[in-house]
Each structure stands twice: as C-alpha cells, then as structure tokens.
C-alpha cells in the first residue's frame, strides 16, 4: 500500500498561510494510494478544505510540494491538472442543460460529437439520471443536482476525484443514500477519491482512511475502526464518536498500562498508557460509552467505581444513561436493551466498571 509506485497524491510538508502571518495548514504530509478513498475530517477552520483547494490548484501552497503521480504540480494551473471535483454547492452551470454540463469537460478536451454523446449518456445512466439530459439544473431536486455534479466530475475519467462537503446541503435520508451511492461508484470505478467533510459518520461510512484535522495539523491518520477504537489523542477521541472523559494524574507506569489518580478524589484507575507524559503528568482518560458495564459487581472488571444515575433516555435499541461520578456528571453509559438488562432508576447508586484495555490514557 505504501509502495512509491502506487502513490497517486503526495503532500510533502505543505504549509499554507493566507495573510503571511498565521498558518492555516501547518506541515501537512499525506500519501494517497491509487484507488484509495481518503477523507479529510475536521471542524470548520481546521484547514481541510484549504488542503483540497491546494490539491485542485485554486490556492497556491505557501511552502512544500504536492505531487500527482510523482510529478510536482505546484506550478500546474488547475485546468491542466485533470482532477475531477465535486463542489460544495454543486457548481453546475445554470445556463446549460444537464447533458451540456456533462459534455463541457469533453468538449474542451476536443472529443468528437458521437463520442461525447456516448460518454454523457453512460455517465447519466451511472447515476440513474438517464433521460434527464435536456433538463436545466434549476429543474432538478437537490439530490439529482448532486448526482449530476458527481457524474460531471467522473465523465472525463480523471485519475483523482475531489469532493468538498458534497452532501452538506442534503437532508439526512438523502445524505445517507448518497453516501452509499458514492461509495459504490468508488468501488466500481476504482477511482482515487479525496473527500472533505465535517460529518464523522459520513467519514466513517465511506473512507478507507481518515485524516482528522484540527488547528491545521493532522491529529491522526488511520482507517475508521482504528480511529474509533484507538484514538491517539484527546481531540480525536472527542471528535470521533461519543466519548467519556475523565481527568487525572499519572501515578505509575507499568509497561503498557498505567495507574491514574482521578481528579477530585475519585480514586485510582488502571488505564492503557497511549499518549502520556511521565509519572506526575496530567492525562485525559477516554472511554467509549458502550465499553462500560453498569451494575457490575465489584471485582468483576478491572476498574470499578460507584455512580449515581442522573438521567435515563430510552432510545429503543439502547438506554442512554447519564451518571455522575466523582468530578464528572456527564458520564454516559449505553445500556443495551437486551433480554434481562439492568433496570435503573433515577437517583439510584450503582457500580460501573470497565476493563483497563478499553480505557485509554491520552494527552491532557
């Protein structure tokens, strides 16, 4: 996967500053293999869209070099890069019909009339819009416009397709449908895709690998499952999925585990030492709600604390229980609605427990 010949896009220590003072992107490195689906995920202002714009050629990199298929492209204008792109607001040409929109990239490449017609029809069929060629973009629904934009980015068979929050304007159901559609297109065409979004579930659904951005830096670059199960720092743990945080101080380190004393006299907890300083440094413990057992007997799990039930929300497949521990009243436990699950009452004091393996000690 990391062989040089298979790498299509390479960001080599890329920096970007708009005003010459603050860096929007600080030292960005990324290798995208051929056929891979890589997502850049992060909150707004984290620099992810800027990276995409630099790759498309709309913004020059302040420092560093971007390679496409081994060729540096910093000095290649956007129209010569041959990269397909789906824009946030689709950017369909309103004065052209759907078919003319799709024919545009083929016409500027000087293809013959019959060949263009052929490819346009194929591209429309691919997104299930055959017969819509004579419509104007304004006569289509948001989802249809989106599909036209996707097929226009693919019709000239680029090696690389970029997508800049393409599903942001769609409603939830349509968005999920489009996620699968884009994923299937990616699988069928084996085209390399770089996708930008701030929606973590979108990123988890579609990507081979996700680069989590914050503050102009990639916090972690990993496949979705690794990102969720093995976050390397407190930002990633908090940004991807639901996460319980406990603050404390490292008391001792013992191989891959460490002992942490919780703030506010919450007691000692054994955790996986992932990203901590030495003994005495502050740490954030990250714990997924579904990895916590509630009502467990003391000693049944490696860690056990008593907690007061604050709130119970019935969500069908599980019951979301917010409990108070010493120093944390926002601790969430998911109790699955399985046969014979624990029945809790508000205000009840119970025991919660978890394995040290599931509790990751991260940076403060």
């Amino acid at each position: 996967m990391s062989e040089t010949a298979d790498i299509l896009v390479k960001f080599d220590s890329v920096q970007k500053s708009y005003d010459g003072e603050t860096l929007v992107v600080k030292d960005f490195n990324l290798d995208v293999s051929k056929g891979e689906f890589v997502t850049m995920l992060g909150p707004s202002g984290s620099g992810k869209t800027t990276c995409l714009m630099m790759l498309a050629g709309f913004e020059p990199a302040t420092h560093g070099e971007i390679y496409l298929d081994g060729v540096p492209i910093n000095n290649v204008p956007p129209h010569k890069r041959g990269i397909g792109m789906v824009f946030q607001n689709y950017a369909l040409f309103p004065h052209m019909t759907v078919a003319e929109n799709l024919a545009f990239p083929l016409e500027v490449r000087g293809l013959g009339k019959s060949e263009i017609e052929d490819k346009v029809n194929k591209a429309l069929d691919m997104v299930r819009l055959g017969g819509f060629g004579d419509r104007r973009p304004a006569q289509l629904s948001g989802g249809q416009q989106q599909r036209v934009a996707v097929s226009r980015a693919l019709v000239f068979e680029p090696k690389l397709v970029l997508m800049d929050e393409p599903l942001g304007a769609l409603d939830k159901n349509l968005r999920e449908e489009m996620q699968y559609e884009i994923k299937h297109i990616h699988e069928n065409l084996q085209v390399t895709m770089v996708y930008v979004t701030h929606d973590q579930s979108e990123a988890l659904t579609m990507s081979d690998r996700i680069a989590v951005f914050d503050d102009g830096i990639v916090q972690q670059l990993a496949p979705p499952d690794e990102l969720y199960e093995k976050p390397m720092n407190a930002f990633v743990a908090g940004f991807i999925g639901e996460n319980n945080r406990l603050f404390g101080k490292v008391v001792s380190i013992d191989g891959k585990f460490c002992q942490v004393e919780l703030e506010g006299g919450g007691g000692m907890v054994k955790a996986l030492a992932v990203n901590i300083g030495g003994v005495g440094s502050r740490t954030t413990l990250s714990l997924r709600p579904e990895r916590v057992t509630i009502g467990a007997a003391k000693g049944a799990t490696e860690n056990s604390l008593s907690a007061t039930v604050q709130e119970l929300i019935y969500l069908g497949d599980h019951i979301r229980s917010r409990v108070r521990l010493t120093g944390n009243s926002e601790f969430v436990v998911k109790v699955p609605n399985s046969h014979g699950h624990v029945h809790l009452k508000k205000g009840e004091v119970t025991q919660i427990g978890w394995e040290a393996e599931d509790c990751r000690a991260l940076d403060a």
């Binding site: 709309f58 041959g82 950017a91 004065h95 973009p137």
Partner: protein, 283 residues
C-alpha cells in the same frame, strides 16, 4: 394592491389620494415628451398649438417638418454622426466596463473602492467640468474636433454605467462556477466565453444600452469638442433652437422618442426570452 375589506374612511381616502398623486407625477414626467408629438405635425412654424390644431382641422396638420428633416443634409449628417459615435463608444465602453467590473469583483483586489470611485467619477462629476477638462486635454493632444476624440469622451461617460450594471450582476455570481470550469479542463479564455459571459450577459446588455443612450443624447461634451463635421443630433437640435427656431427639431424629437421606445422594448423582449431559455425564471 387592492383596498382591503377592513379599510376605514381614512385608509380609503389615503388610498385614492395616493393613486391621484402617483398619476400627477406620471403626468408631470411624461407631458413634456407627449406634447411634442402633436406639435411636430403643426403646419405653422410655431411651437404652440394653433386654433386649427385644437379644432382638429386636417389642414392645420402636415408632415412638412419631417420632410425638412429628411431632405436637410445638416440633419441627415448629424444622424449619421450620432450613430457612428454612439455605436463605437458603446462598444468601447462595454468592453472596458465589463473587464473593469470583472477585475474589481475579484476577492483579493486591492484598492477596490478607490478604483471604483475613479471609474465611476465621470457619472458624478458635473458634466460641464468633465467637458471643460476634456476640451483642454484633448486640444493639447490633437483630439478635439475629431471623431476619435468624441468617441473616447463618450466612452469615458458610458463606462461607469457598464461597470455598475455588470458589478451588480456579478454580486450574485457563483465564483465556484469559474473554479468548476477550470477544474473540468477549460482554460481561462474558454471559461470566460462559455461560462462567465453567458451568465453576466443581462448586465452587459443593460450597461451597453445605458452607454448608448448616454452618448446618443449627450450635448455638453459635443459642444466643447465637436467641430462642424462632428455635429450630432442633440448638437444640431441645440443650434436649431438657437439659430433657426424651426419645428424640425420637434419632428426629430418625436422620431428619437419612437426609436428609444422601440429600443427598450426590443431589449426587454430579448432579455426575457434569453432568461426563459436559460431556465432562470419559471415558465
């Protein structure tokens, strides 16, 4: 806006007063234009209604001033001049104004408001001042009393209209369309003609129309800059009033009013048609 059912006497009174006032304003604006039309058919060389005209005597009306206009070489020459000058200055103003508006709408344009101010200053500075300035400047470089001089002067006066109308169109312009075009492989020239131009065309056309009319009815600059050879219609009308006091100018004025109405109507029809074709408005 019909009167609602719950309107009291005060609202009803105001409703009709308001309509009456609006009518008066329209009348005030349009009467001076309308009154010249019957007067241009006057058989007598007067600028007032004769008793024959008021009693609708057919002998009190004639087309002699129209004949005079057509047969008088001074007039026909001025018509030719007006069209030559207006057409060329409109073409120049449209090209320059569109380019300026495109440049000024770029997101990272420095000194935008300063440049905008300079460009539209011919519209704001009193015309007599611009005209006097142009007179001295153009005399020094040998452009006074030439067609080129008047065309350039009228270009300067017409450009602000194009800049303003095109800039207004560009406010609603989605700049990711140019990015999309580049991304799809179109070079900047193709992008301009295939994507930008069709979308800003309504602004360009109305700007061009304003520029044309500005040049067509401009008299102050022409008074300063034009020699006898470059006399335009307004210039000829001006001397018509001062020197000859002939109702021919009423005939000319009537023809000009008709041309203006026809021009505006044609453009409006074209604009609606193209908008409908581009699917920007429903229906």
């Amino acid at each position: 806006m019909a009167l609602p059912a719950y309107a009291g006497p005060l609202e009803t009174t105001w409703y009709y007063t308001f309509r009456f006032l609006c009518g008066c304003i329209f009348l005030f604006l349009i009467t001076p234009i309308l009154v010249i039309i019957p007067l241009s058919f006057n058989v007598e060389p007067y600028f007032t209604f004769t008793s024959g005209m008021l009693s609708f005597d057919p002998d009190a009306y004639s087309l002699k001033w129209y004949e005079d206009f057509i047969n008088n070489t001074q007039w026909t020459h001025s018509v030719k001049n007006s069209f030559i000058i207006a057409i060329f200055s409109t073409i120049l103003a449209t090209i320059l104004g569109t380019l300026a508006a495109l440049g000024l709408s770029k997101p990272h344009m420095p000194y935008r408001s300063l440049m905008m101010g300079v460009l539209i200053s011919p519209m704001i500075v009193p015309l007599i001042i611009s005209a006097a300035g142009m007179y001295f400047f153009y005399s020094n470089i040998g452009l006074s009393q030439t067609y080129l001089g008047i065309i350039l002067a009228h270009t300067a006066l017409g450009t602000p209209f194009v800049v303003i109308t095109v800039t207004a169109t560009l406010v609603g312009f989605n700049h990711s369309l140019t990015r999309a075009s580049a991304n799809l492989g179109a070079n900047p020239t193709t992008t301009f003609f295939k994507v930008i131009m069709p979308l800003i065309l309504p602004g360009v056309i109305s700007g061009a129309l304003f520029a044309f009319i500005t040049s067509f009815d401009e008299v102050v600059v022409v008074l300063f800059l034009a020699g006898f050879d470059q006399r335009t219609i307004p210039r000829q009308m001006w001397s018509g009033i001062r020197e000859q006091i002939s109702p021919t100018i009423l005939a000319v004025a009537t023809i000009l009013v008709m041309i203006s109405i026809a021009l505006l109507a044609t453009l409006e029809v074209l604009r609606r048609r193209s908008e409908r074709l581009r699917g920007m408005t429903p229906g």
